[in-house]
Amino acid sequence: MEKAAMMQAAQDMVESFVDLPTIPQVATRVIELLDRPGVELDEVADMILADQVLAARVIKMVNSPLYKPAHEIKSVKRALIYLGFRHIRELAFTCSFVDVFEGRDGIFDIKSFWEHSFGVGVVAKIIAQRVRYPDSEKAYLVGIVHDIGEVFLSYYRQDAFRSLLDSVQGRPYRLVDKEAEFLGTSHSEVGLCIARKWNFPPDYCEVIALHHAPEEAVLDPTLCAIANLADLFCSVRQLDYGGSSWVTFNLAEEKAWGILKGYSPALADLDVERFCYELDDRVPEIQEMVKSIFQGIGA
């Protein structure tokens, strides 16, 4: 399908969405802080403390198995000291973002969306570190937001989405291709429209738009390739929207793999098998973390 037509369809679709949530003010502020050099730790701390729900969530999350503190952390200040500035930024962003999709359980429920998104975030960060990409926190953050289009597409277009899933029973497919066929657009285009509405920085927008076509990226092909591979690995290691997608891939033929090997030739020696098995080991941690951010917070 023509790319421009898919983009137009996405724009029309997003305009037609009733009650499209706005991004929380605090998340916008965190985004502003993301790329600004010379941000002070206090600025982030003040911002978190100003929002009780956010503060409670940060504490919940820092105590989840993913961050593994030796003792329970009970205050935002301790969390800041434990995580350091870069990590607190990623945590604050994640926590501020969680409410955006509340009640938007569509064909995919929000919990499985978050498990996939956190999974892609965590794996993107690991890949970024392996290839020595300079900003692994950014890789984590784009992983968290890469599929925002999916939430809205599966929520606002439930009937078409259900027919899509019915049509692929027992057959391998890539969701993004099937969406184009059934909806005239895909979660990449829809996600891009929403990211622009929410004033995401351009490189974040690019990942959202091109995480299934990293070879088309202009601003940061490496980042898009990292998100693409992380997405693929999560799709085959239990972080796959509760089994709703059914993907197979030959790593050697993936364009993202080529891009990243070009960026970091040592990647060719990666023990891919072990990488997958280690990812399996992290799945319960990721599920636990998703549980922890939704549990017991009166948001």
Partner: protein
């Protein structure tokens, strides 16, 4: 492999620390190519307790040194692997693999071969043990007889070095432990429960697979195992040293059709063994192709 259902008091097993677990897991992975998931920590702990008792090792650290020692290590490692993999053989053991085969790899190969009018499918279960893997494939393929495999010739070959297990495979009688993973549909259709816990495989399934003795180290015989579409070799290569493993895997590579797939066990890895095979990932696993 023989079943070992001896009860074991897991409570008496000494607790393994995260550090000891990781150390041993890494060592087993590097030497044998099998990965111990964190979720198997307690299982490994209880199995280790038996081996520690047998070898007189007091701590996990002592045992780690013991398996690493040149004199006794390799033999001990094999015994540990026996403890760990003994009870694994059963029908429908690796579900993600079977799903991927049904959803993708089988239809793909049938389409490729069908195009050139070559309607024959050859499957090899290398290290077949008592035949569960080979017969699982037989049942799955029988179900496709009316559709994509209509008029196809199907050859399933199981090989093992051990004559006793091959005799069991040929007999086709299993206990309830072997069929514990078998979906009801297949259990009702292809097994007859003659007595409590005695499951007799239907002749229809048995007819599809043949079994013979083969030593995977035997280069001459390996050369004759030609043109397979699927090769399965689960939990066998883990017992081989690196040189033999590379040699055997090269044979598998040569014996596989250009579009064929080679499957290893659920937590196994061929990393560093053969750089020609490519990995193809599917939900819950991966396979190798040319």
């Amino acid at each position: 492999m023989a079943l070992d259902l001896k009860p074991f008091d897991a409570k008496s097993a000494p607790k393994i620390s995260d550090k000891d677990f990781e150390q041993l897991r890494d060592y087993i992975y590097n030497v044998c190519g099998i990965y111990f998931h964190s979720s198997k920590k307690y299982f490994l702990e209880s199995r280790l307790a038996r081996r520690m008792e047998m070898t007189g090792c007091k701590t996990h650290g002592d045992y780690y040194q013991y398996v690493r020692s040149a004199a006794t290590g390799r033999t001990e490692l094999s015994k540990l692997l026996d403890e760990i993999t003994t009870n694994e053989t059963c029908f429908f053991r690796n579900m993600p693999q079977l799903t991927a085969l049904e959803n993708k790899f089988l239809p793909e190969i049938v389409a490729t071969k069908g195009k050139i009018g070559f309607k024959k499918l050859r499957i090899w279960s290398a290290g077949s043990s008592s035949g569960e893997e080979a017969y699982t494939m037989a049942m799955i393929l029988l179900e496709k007889r009316a559709t994509i495999l209509k008029d196809w010739i199907i050859e399933i070959i199981g090989t093992d070095i051990n004559e006793t297990v091959l005799a069991q495979a040929k007999e086709g009688i299993y206990n309830s432990y072997s069929v514990r993973n078998t979906p009801d549909f297949y259990l009702k259709k292809y097994f007859k429960e003659e007595a409590a816990g005695r499951f007799v495989l239907s002749p229809e399934v048995k007819k599809l697979a043949s079994f013979s003795q083969l030593n995977l180290y035997d280069d001459n015989k390996m050369l004759f195992m030609k043109s397979f579409d699927f090769i399965f070799c689960a939990n066998v290569l883990i017992y081989f040293d690196t040189t033999s493993k590379s040699k055997v895997v090269q044979h598998f590579y040569n014996n596989l059709q250009p579009y064929g797939y080679f499957f290893v066990g659920q937590s196994e890895s061929l990393h560093g063994v053969n750089d020609k095979f490519k990995t193809v990932h599917f939900p819950g696993g991966f396979t190798y192709n040319k």
